[in-house]
C-alpha cells in the first residue's frame, strides 16, 4: 500500500462518535480522500457508514450524536467545530441516504433552495450545469419532486448537492432501491463529474460490485471500525471481499458449498 503522496482533501484521524452520550457508533475511523480522487467506503447495514459521513458534514448534532474523539481535517483545516452550513460553504456536500429531496418543491425549486449561499448568477450557472448532467430533471422540472421516480429523485439529490459548488461530494448509498441500469447510469455520471471537474468523491455503498468499478480506492468498515483498505483492484481480488461483499466466487456449484460459513480473517 504505497499510495503516492497526493494532497489530501479530507482526512479523518481516529474518529469516534457516540449517540446520546452512551452508544458508541464508530470507533477510531481513519480515512483519507486524495484531492480529485474517488474513494469508496464499503460495509454492511449498521456498520457505521452513514455515521461516518454525518460526522464529516456535521449533521450528527441533529440526531444527538457527537464526535467525541479524533480529528477531522478538510484541506488541512480542522472542521470539527463548524456548523453544517459552514462546512457546506467550505465545499463539503453530503447527499443523504434515501435521497431526501424536498418533496413538495419542484426539482427547479429544490435546486434554488440549495443555492442559499450563492448569488443569482452563480445559481443560474449551476442550474444549467446540473441540467446538462441530468437532462431528465430538466424535463421534469415543474412536477412536485415527491412524484419523481426513485432514479430521478437520486439524480435530483445529487444535482442539489452540486448546486452548493462542492469540492468534495459525499454520497450515502446512491444505489439504494434503484434498478441496476439506473445505478450504472448514475455511477457513470459521477465518474464523468469526477474526471471533468476534478471533484473529489467519497462514495458510501453496500453495493460493493458497482462501487469498486468506479473508485480507485476502497475502505471496508465493520461494526464501527475500518477493517481493511486498499486499491479497488486489490480489493476485488481479495478472497474475503469476494466471499462476503461481492457475492462469492464465480461458477459456484451449490452442491459444493460448505455447510459452515467461511470465517472472516480479520477481527472486528
Amino acid at each position: 500500500m504505497n499510495a503516492p503522496i497526493a494532497a489530501k482533501i479530507l482526512s479523518l484521524n481516529n474518529i469516534e462518535v457516540v449517540y446520546d452520550h452512551v452508544s458508541l457508533a464508530i470507533k477510531g475511523v481513519s480515512i483519507d480522500v486524495p484531492e480529485g480522487g474517488m474513494v469508496a467506503l464499503l460495509g454492511a447495514n449498521g456498520a457505521g457508514k452513514s455515521t461516518t459521513l454525518k460526522s464529516i458534514s456535521g449533521l450528527l448534532t441533529a440526531e444527538r450524536g457527537e464526535v467525541r474523539r479524533g480529528e477531522l481535517q478538510f484541506r488541512g483545516q480542522s472542521i470539527g467545530g463548524l456548523m453544517p452550513q459552514d462546512r457546506v460553504k467550505l465545499g463539503i456536500a453530503h447527499v443523504l441516504e434515501g435521497r431526501r429531496v424536498f418533496e413538495h418543491l419542484t426539482p427547479d425549486e429544490n435546486l434554488i433552495a440549495a443555492s442559499a449561499l450563492h448569488s443569482r448568477q452563480d445559481m443560474n450557472r449551476n442550474k444549467d450545469r446540473v441540467y446538462s448532467y441530468f437532462p431528465r430533471l430538466h424535463e421534469r422540472r415543474t412536477v412536485a419532486s415527491g412524484y419523481l421516480s426513485g432514479g430521478e429523485q437520486q439524480m435530483l439529490a445529487i444535482g442539489r448537492a452540486l448546486m452548493t459548488q462542492p469540492k468534495l461530494l459525499m454520497l450515502d448509498e446512491p444505489s439504494l432501491g434503484l434498478a441496476p441500469f439506473l445505478v450504472a447510469e448514475i455511477f457513470q455520471i459521477l465518474g464523468r463529474i469526477n474526471r471533468d471537474e476534478g471533484l473529489s468523491i467519497l462514495l458510501v455503498e453496500q453495493n460493493a460490485i458497482a462501487a469498486l468499478e468506479i473508485v480507485s480506492h476502497g475502505y471496508l468498515i465493520e461494526s464501527g471500525r475500518i477493517v481493511m483498505h486498499d486499491s479497488a483492484a486489490a480489493l476485488k481480488k481479495n478472497p474475503d471481499i469476494q466471499e462476503f461483499y461481492l457475492g462469492g466466487a464465480e461458477n459456484k456449484n451449490f452442491r459444493d458449498i460448505k455447510h459452515y460459513s467461511r470465517r472472516k480473517r480479520w477481527l472486528t
Binding site: 460553504k89 447527499v95 433552495a113 440549495a114 415527491g146 448537492a161 452548493t164
Partner: protein, 295 residues
C-alpha cells in the same frame, strides 16, 4: 328573517372572516416554514395591540407611527421567541414544541394582565362609524378596511413564497436535515418565519382592536385562527384566505338564524363544529399538502 338581512350577515361575515384569515395567516407562515403549529398566535396578536397602545399613549406618538414602531418591535420579539424558546427544541418531538407554544400563549396573556390590567382600552384608527352602503346592504367600514388589508397581505405572502427566500423556507419545512445538508441556515429561516408571523399578528391586532378594543379577549382569536388555518390546510396561505371567508359567512348566517333560538354563543359552536369536522373528514384541510406517497 328576510333575505336582505341574511345577505347582510353573510357579507359582513365574509369581511370578518377575512380578518380571521389574518390571524390564521400568522399560524400558516410558521407552519409553512418550520412545521410548527403555533398556539401562541392569539396572544401575540393581543401583545401587539398593547405595544401599539404603549407607543401611542405613553410615548404620545401618532397612531400610524405607533403602528410602525410596533411592527418593528414585534419583529424583534418574534426573533426573540424563536431564539429563546424554540431553537433548542429543534428536532425534538412535536408534542413538546406544541406545549411550548401553549406555554407562551398563557405566559403572554398572564403577563399582559400583570402589566396593563384587564380593562378594555379603545384603539382609534380614525375609521368612521358610518356604514358603507353596498346596494341595499349595510357594511361595517372597519370590517371592509380589515378585509382590504388582509387581501393585500395575502398578495404579498404569495409573492414572497415564490421568491428565493420563500423557497428556502418551504424547503426547511419539508426536511430540516436535508436543508442543513445543502447549506441552509435552518435556525435563521425559522427565526425569520416567527418574526414575519409576529408582524402579521401586529396588523391583525390593530385591526381587531379597532373593532373590539384592546384587552385579553383578543387572545381568543387563537380559536378562530386555528379553525381557519386547519380548515384551509395549515400550510396554504390561499387556503387560509378562503377558509376565513367560508367560516365568516357560515358564522354570520348561523348567528343571525340561530342566536334568537339558542340565546347567543352560536358563533363559537359553529367554530368548534367546523374544526372538529375538518379534522374528522378532511384532516389536511381544503388546500393543505398531502404527504406524498409513491406507490
Amino acid at each position: 328573517m328576510d333575505a336582505i338581512s341574511l345577505m347582510e350577515s353573510a357579507a359582513n361575515g365574509a369581511l370578518i372572516g377575512l380578518m380571521y384569515s389574518l390571524v390564521a395567516m400568522g399560524i400558516v407562515l410558521i407552519y409553512k416554514s418550520s412545521s410548527v403549529p403555533n398556539l401562541a398566535q392569539g396572544s401575540m396578536t393581543m401583545l401587539a395591540a398593547y405595544v401599539v397602545l404603549a407607543f401611542a399613549n405613553s410615548a404620545g406618538a401618532p397612531i400610524w407611527a405607533a403602528i410602525s414602531l410596533a411592527i418593528i418591535t414585534m419583529f424583534i420579539i418574534g426573533l426573540a421567541i424563536e431564539r429563546v424558546a424554540l431553537r433548542r427544541l429543534a428536532g425534538r418531538p412535536i408534542i413538546m414544541i406544541l406545549m411550548m407554544t401553549l406555554g407562551l400563549e398563557i405566559f403572554l396573556r398572564a403577563g399582559s394582565m400583570t402589566i396593563w390590567g384587564g380593562t378594555t382600552r379603545p384603539m382609534n384608527l380614525g375609521i368612521s362609524d358610518a356604514p358603507l352602503f353596498l346596494g341595499p346592504l349595510l357594511i361595517n367600514r372597519a370590517y371592509a378596511f380589515g378585509a382590504v388589508v388582509t387581501i393585500a397581505m395575502f398578495g404579498f405572502f404569495v409573492m414572497f413564497f415564490r421568491s428565493r427566500m420563500g423557497v428556502v423556507l418551504r424547503a426547511i419545512s419539508d426536511d430540516y436535515t436535508a436543508a442543513w445538508s445543502v447549506g441552509i441556515s435552518v435556525e435563521r429561516g425559522v427565526a425569520l418565519s416567527w418574526a414575519m408571523s409576529a408582524v402579521v399578528a401586529t396588523i391583525a391586532g390593530v385591526l381587531w382592536s379597532s373593532v373590539q378594543g384592546v384587552d385579553q379577549s383578543l387572545a381568543q382569536l387563537l380559536l378562530k385562527g386555528v379553525t381557519v388555518a386547519v380548515l384551509g390546510g395549515l400550510d396554504s396561505i390561499g387556503g387560509a384566505l378562503l377558509a376565513g371567508v367560508l367560516l365568516g359567512v357560515v358564522e354570520g348566517i348561523a348567528s343571525s338564524v340561530l342566536d334568537p333560538l339558542l340565546g347567543g354563543a352560536s358563533r363559537d359552536l359553529v367554530d368548534a363544529a367546523m374544526l372538529i369536522l375538518t379534522i374528522l373528514i378532511r384532516p389536511h384541510g381544503l388546500f393543505g399538502r398531502h404527504d406524498i406517497e409513491r406507490v
